[in-house]
């Protein structure tokens, strides 16, 4: 482990995936944050997601 590279020794910069309010709170605290426009993959079809993932792994 290299402690000087751990998250604790760096100013945090956040990618927020989900609740918008978390981004808003971080922005208010002047923390760099980018809000993703996340949507369920494959239209939310979990079986299709698993299939796509296994194809990606094979590739």
């Amino acid at each position: 482990m290299k402690p000087d590279q751990s998250l604790l020794q760096q100013p945090i910069r956040v990618i927020n995936i989900g609740l918008e309010s978390f981004s808003e709170d971080l922005r208010k605290a002047e923390i760099p944050v980018i809000q993703m426009d996340w949507r369920p993959p494959a239209g939310g079809d979990l079986r299709l997601v698993a299939l796509l993932d296994s194809l990606a792994e094979e590739a």
């Binding site: 482990m1 290299k2 402690p3 590279q5 751990s6 998250l7 604790l8 020794q9 760096q10 100013p11 945090i12 910069r13 956040v14 990618i15 927020n16 995936i17 989900g18 609740l19 918008e20 309010s21 978390f22 709170d25 971080l26 605290a29 923390i31 760099p32 944050v33 980018i34 809000q35 993703m36 426009d37 996340w38 949507r39 369920p40 993959p41 239209g43 939310g44 079809d45 979990l46 997601v49 993932d53």
Partner: protein
């Protein structure tokens, strides 16, 4: 009763937004149900389970929004559906006006913030592991707020994160502080010399608020997920977090919070920490360890007070009450009105509920943990999965406690109740006025003569929190509710009201 079903095609909304809008609209007297869900398989099952499925709702796919309203009349069902849709579209319109770019992929997000070092995820649990794994692949530390993540996925993600020297906080991680920045349900606290590691969200909130009240602050507080110290997960993130805090120059004392850990994990943690120069204060909720590697404490407040004494080079002597005179006055005033009667605890914080159960059962005997158990005393965690299916967590939406109180009153279950014990957890993300919500329900029940019990509330928060803790306490005070800032003191006081026999011992220890 009239029911309206509306499907909004190809519109994704996150569940907390949907539940917030739904619970706001449900407050109207002529509206008995508002259900708003994305049409995922799980949500279709949920709608069927609560008997709300309609022919139309079945047509919705995973990217379609279902809005079902049950009202006194068709017009009201229809107008409330329209209100719901405008509330949601107004929110989206507001977002568009901000003109900020929202990337759809992680690669695009990293293009805009190339030196990002943390991903905060709060998406439905069934997708969380997949997205978290992608974040670790990109070298991001993870704060995973989502729950319902499979144990096997947790173990594999934590192993993967460890191999890359990354923190994986969660799943179901409610709160964390990194370099003074709060994530999730975070109270606004001072930065300082105490580092925390917690397998418990509200437990961590109670500890950091107590540290703040004692004038100390937090270097970092790392949430590790409730299962981290189980035999299966083996303390993967607790171990890594301990190593990081031991080497962190800002941290002088570490507090470690968890429900009782498994014996093999304790052994490994003790072996690790015995080499540390940083003292580790532990609070394992009811578990006493034979070894003395950790400075063991019995309650959250004691853990905080012990750590504060340690950083200031003093020994801590625990007392049951910090202001014994106040307790004597209260007991004198209340007399024996609640003696021998039931205690009903309705909590929004799981760890706070657990701590109250432990302290009360010591003095009162068995304390049930769910409404299904028929023991006399009961302390329930309303944030438990069984009470939050399809609803926001009670810290966000404490209406569930109001409903439970009214339900208990109507079934006559409050008739023999001497004390009602509740918690109010403030901070970012929590309800903005939980005191008012509680007081309104108590006053309604008092007017209907369905509640004569003493009400005791523990308020967890800091003066900088958005709810204004002083104003919250004033509202509770004005309604005759006895307020404590410490969960353990509140529970001990309640035990003394219901079981006068324990008063003498506690007061002797306190003086």
């Amino acid at each position: 009763m009239a029911r309206s079903t509306h499907i909004l095609k190809s519109s994704y909304f996150d569940s907390v937004v949907l539940m917030r809008v739904a619970s706001q609209l449900k407050k109207q007297d002529d509206i008995s149900e508002v259900a708003m869900f994305m049409g995922t398989e799980g949500n279709h099952d949920l709608l069927a389970q609560v008997g709300l499925t309609t022919v139309k709702s079945r047509e919705a796919g995973p990217q379609d929004l279902i809005v079902i309203v049950v009202a006194d009349s068709e017009e009201r069902a229809e107008s409330t559906t329209q209100d719901a849709l405008s509330m949601l579209t107004d929110r989206n319109a507001g977002q568009d006006n901000e003109l900020d770019y929202r990337p759809r992929t992680l690669d695009a997000a990293l293009g805009f913030l190339p030196d990002a070092n943390l991903a905060a995820l709060s998406i439905p649990g069934e997708f969380a592991a997949r997205e978290a794994s992608k974040c670790i692949d990109k070298g991001l530390n993870v704060f995973l707020f989502s729950d319902n993540v499979a144990l096997a996925d947790e173990i594999s993600l934590k192993n993967k994160a460890r191999r890359k020297n990354l923190l994986f906080m969660g799943p179901d991680c409610g709160t964390a502080y990194i370099n003074g920045v709060g994530l999730g349900f975070a109270n606004i606290i001072k930065s300082g010399r105490i580092g925390c590691i917690a397998a418990s969200g509200t437990g961590l909130q109670a500890v950091v608020c107590e540290l703040d009240r004692l004038g100390e602050g937090v270097s970092h507080a790392i949430g590790v997920g409730g299962r981290d110290l189980s035999s299966e997960v083996g303390g993967l993130m607790t171990t890594y977090s301990l190593e990081l805090l031991e080497q962190d120059p800002a941290t002088e004392v570490i507090i470690l919070l968890s429900k009782p850990p498994s014996a093999d994990v304790v052994e490994a943690l003790e072996a690790l920490c015995s080499e540390f120069s940083t003292p580790v204060v532990s609070c394992f909720q009811g578990a006493e360890l034979p070894g003395n590697t950790f400075i063991q404490t019995a309650t959250l407040d004691e853990a905080a007070a012990t750590a504060v004494c340690r950083v200031n080079g003093r020994e801590h002597v625990p007392v049951p009450f910090n202001l014994p005179d106040r307790i004597s006055d209260l007991l004198e005033e209340r007399g024996n009105k609640a003696a021998g009667k039931r205690v009903v605890g309705l909590f929004t914080g799981g760890t706070l509920a657990k701590e109250a159960q432990l302290l009360l059962s010591k003095e009162l005997g068995p304390v049930a943990k769910s409404f299904e158990e028929h023991a006399g005393h009961i302390v329930v965690d309303l944030g438990d999965d069984q009470y939050t299916i399809g609803r926001p967590h009670p810290m966000i939406s404490p209406e569930i406690r109001t409903e439970k109180l009214i339900e208990l009153a109507e079934t006559g279950d409050l008739a023999d109740c001497g004390v009602v014990l509740v918690d109010l957890v403030l901070g970012k993300g929590s309800h903005l006025d939980p005191a008012q919500e509680l007081v309104e329900s108590i006053e309604t029940l008092r007017k209907r003569r369905e509640l004569s019990a003493e009400i005791v509330a523990v308020v967890i928060g800091t003066p900088e929190d958005p709810q204004d803790i002083a104003a919250q306490i004033s509202v509770l005070d004005a309604a005759g509710i006895t307020v404590f800032r410490s969960n353990s003191e509140a529970a001990r006081y309640v035990a003394m009201l219901a079981a006068p026999a324990c008063r003498e011992n506690y007061m002797k220890e306190a003086s």
